[in-house]
């Protein structure tokens, strides 16, 4: 009896899957391969991809790997198997090494693709005929900008603490390098403690509590992302220091923008993932339709850094009006907008 029930369940699930895939759609398959939809960053990314797909009438497929490189590769292969050459991809490789098997699979299928953030340094996009571009937001200038704003808020001197991201993570390393660059130019500012909050709000809260008991006279808190900055801010609030000791982050999530507006945070940057999700697909489509010719595209336009939107207390109202209460208007045909510098 139990076995029958089980069989029935399996059959029902299979039937659902078949019915689901029977809704045959027309148009180019536009794959967005990202980590998960659990965080606002990737969620907004998927919305950007959807907005672009809607604007040109494609079939947007969001694939989340949930931190598994294996799953990411398999999902991509599955979509190629279904769509053949009638597909493009915008990918956030789960880990740098994973970019290689993904590139090989897509090259074999003749599918154009754009990657973001992670790839091994010695693998160059220009050596792959279908790899349209590898792009990243510049982490070093991000760290420099937020550190500069933080130090400005402290009047150029005092003690700061730093909460870093996941330590083995390129973004975390770059942003922290930015902080160190600025500290080297500001001898009156001392970094009295640093640790990792692993990008997590509750962990940053814990670390900040410990920092505060050893350094009650801290003047500013530099964090590698907004999530941790907001965790640190709550720890400051519990100690009655919110608004007196400012925090900085990066990513530009709405809560952080509101904190800057309230005067509790000094700065952040917005890695505009809506734009990222749309422009990645747009670039890949441009290559597929022949609008750009990869054979003649210079190397500095195959691998490059783009600039994030810098946000401080001066422009916060404008940013909120454009990105929070309103939906920003994008020109998806401006393929190389926000270009900052080539990636070696």
């Amino acid at each position: 009896m139990k076995r029958l029930t089980l069989l029935f369940c399996v059959a029902a699930i299979l039937a659902l899957a078949v019915v689901g895939s029977a809704y045959a759609q027309k148009g180019v398959f536009m794959g967005t391969a990202i980590r998960s939809l659990e965080n606002p960053y990737h969620l907004v990314w998927s919305r950007g991809g959807q907005a672009y797909a809607d604007s040109v009438g494609g079939i947007h497929v969001v694939q989340t790997c949930e931190g598994s490189s294996e799953k990411q590769l398999n999902d991509i292969k599955a979509l190629i198997a279904k769509a053949g050459k009638n597909a493009v991809f915008c990918i956030d490789p789960n880990e740098a090494p994973n970019a290689v098997p993904i590139a090989k699979a897509l090259e074999a299928a003749g599918v154009y693709y754009v990657t973001w953030w992670n790839k091994p340094d010695n693998i160059k996009a220009w050596n792959f005929p279908h790899w349209v571009a590898h792009i990243a937001f510049d982490g070093i200038s991000t760290g420099e900008f937020t550190a500069t704003e933080l130090i400005k808020s402290m009047g150029g001197k005092g003690k700061i603490v730093a909460i870093q991201g996941m330590l083995a993570n390129t973004t975390a390393i770059d942003r922290f390098q930015g902080l160190k660059n600025v500290l080297a130019k500001n001898p009156d500012v001392e970094l009295v403690a640093q640790d990792t909050g692993e990008w997590d709000r509750n962990k940053a809260f814990d670390k900040m509590k410990s920092f505060l008991s050893a350094n009650p006279d801290v003047g500013g808190v530099w964090c590698a992302n907004d999530n941790m900055a907001l965790g640190a801010l709550e720890a400051l609030r519990a100690a009655g220091l919110a608004g007196k000791v400012l925090v900085t982050g990066a990513d530009g999530i709405t809560e952080m923008l509101n904190a800057i507006d309230k005067g509790e945070a000094a700065a952040t940057v917005l890695n505009d993932s809506f734009w990222q999700g749309g422009i990645g697909l747009s670039l890949a489509i441009a290559a597929k339709t022949g609008k750009i010719n990869l054979k003649t595209t210079p190397k500095d336009h195959r691998q490059y850094y783009v600039q994030a939107i810098y946000i401080n207390q001066d422009n916060i109202k404008k940013v909120i009006a454009e990105h929070v209460t309103g939906t920003p208007k994008y020109d998806w045909n401006d393929l190389y907008a926000n270009y900052l510098r080539p990636m070696p």
Partner: protein
């Protein structure tokens, strides 16, 4: 007839014996743990030139220990009956996301105030019920049942929460969670209250006696007529209920919930269970061990932050501590084959 009576007497005798053994085990207490805590305190006090033992930092450690203690108190019960609960992070995330939407927030119109607490605890209890039934009725090993529950609850929390960070606008929750009474952090007071309830259950009720009988030797407990399955389900439910509370606390501490609220809570709690001296083979250790375990792990981590030890080394230290603690506390008599 006389044979049955004899069997009955034997069964009664073994219940008493199992119960007696259990009481001995609980009262064996936490001598080793107190010593470990003392060592940690001395090392870091020396390493930080006294800052570590300042009143301010001790209060910081206590407030940081509150939530790990509560989660550890939840998990250790399942470990005591000889099971394993891995569902912690998913269940906490699910409870936090749903509570986040029910307490005054910037996404939904709900504003149910403190009713969110019993709702979250009931939800946690329900997940425990499912895990318990999977374990006892479907005969699934508890670590698989709860591993499934972890991912199911995590997925559900993403579906419901859609990845948004939900800002909590009811300031009372944060005031209570981050507040104190006469300088003593409320979180530690809550942890001690839960500890007291569990201690009473473990030491003074039949339920407690049965839990230890099952943890000590499930076969024997079953032969002795203990309704093993029912007790196990009850334990999973209590564990889930406490997860529901922990979710509310994690959510109100930073006044924000998202589907990752529970992330990173399992490892420190599991380390605390082992460090506290709760044997992963079941039947040994109780609420007092869980309390001390969480305190030691928190004190260790706070000390490493204050001593500015590289975060890479910190995580390595935590791993080594877990391995050592299990090596010391595991009851090798119960293990025939290691897989």
């Amino acid at each position: 007839m006389s044979g049955q009576a004899a069997a009955g007497r034997r069964a009664g005798f073994s219940i008493r014996r199992a119960g007696q053994k259990a009481l001995d085990v609980i009262s064996r207490g936490v001598v080793g743990q107190v010593a470990a805590l003392a060592i940690v305190l001395v090392i870091f006090a020396a390493g930080t030139e006294g800052t570590y033992l300042s009143l301010k930092n001790i209060l910081t450690i206590l407030s940081l220990a509150g939530i790990p203690m509560i989660i550890c108190l939840a998990i250790h019960q399942v470990v005591v009956i000889g099971g394993m609960d891995l569902s912690t992070e998913g269940v906490i995330s699910l409870c936090a996301v749903i509570s986040g939407f029910l307490i005054k927030n910037n996404f939904t119109g709900y504003n149910i105030g403190f009713w969110a607490v019993p709702i979250s605890m009931t939800l946690g209890g329900l997940t425990g019920l499912v895990s318990g039934l999977l374990n006892t009725r479907v005969k699934m090993p508890s670590f698989i049942a709860t591993l499934g529950m972890w991912w199911a609850a995590q997925g559900l929390s993403v579906i419901i929460g859609r990845g948004n960070a939900v800002k909590m606008l009811d300031q009372r929750f944060q005031n209570i969670t981050n507040g104190d009474i006469l300088g003593i952090p409320n979180l530690i007071l809550m942890a001690v209250a839960i500890f007291a309830i569990l201690l009473v259950i473990q030491r003074m009720t039949k339920l407690g006696k049965y839990i230890y009988a099952i943890g000590g030797d499930e076969q024997l407990a079953r032969q002795a007529g203990i309704k093993v399955d029912r007790i196990k389900v009850i334990v999973f439910v209590i564990t889930g209920v406490i997860y529901g509370l922990a979710a509310i606390l994690l959510l109100s501490r930073v006044a924000s919930s998202n589907p990752r609220t529970g992330n990173g809570q399992l490892f420190p709690a599991m380390t605390a269970v082992a460090v506290g001296g709760v044997s992963l083979s079941g039947g040994i250790g109780g609420a007092l061990n869980a309390l001390f375990g969480a305190l030691i792990v928190t004190a260790l981590n706070n000390g490493m932050v204050l001593m500015k030890i590289s975060p890479y080394i910190q995580s390595a230290v935590n791993g080594v501590v877990l391995i050592l603690a299990v090596a010391v506390t595991i009851d090798r008599r119960k293990i025939g084959i290691i897989k």
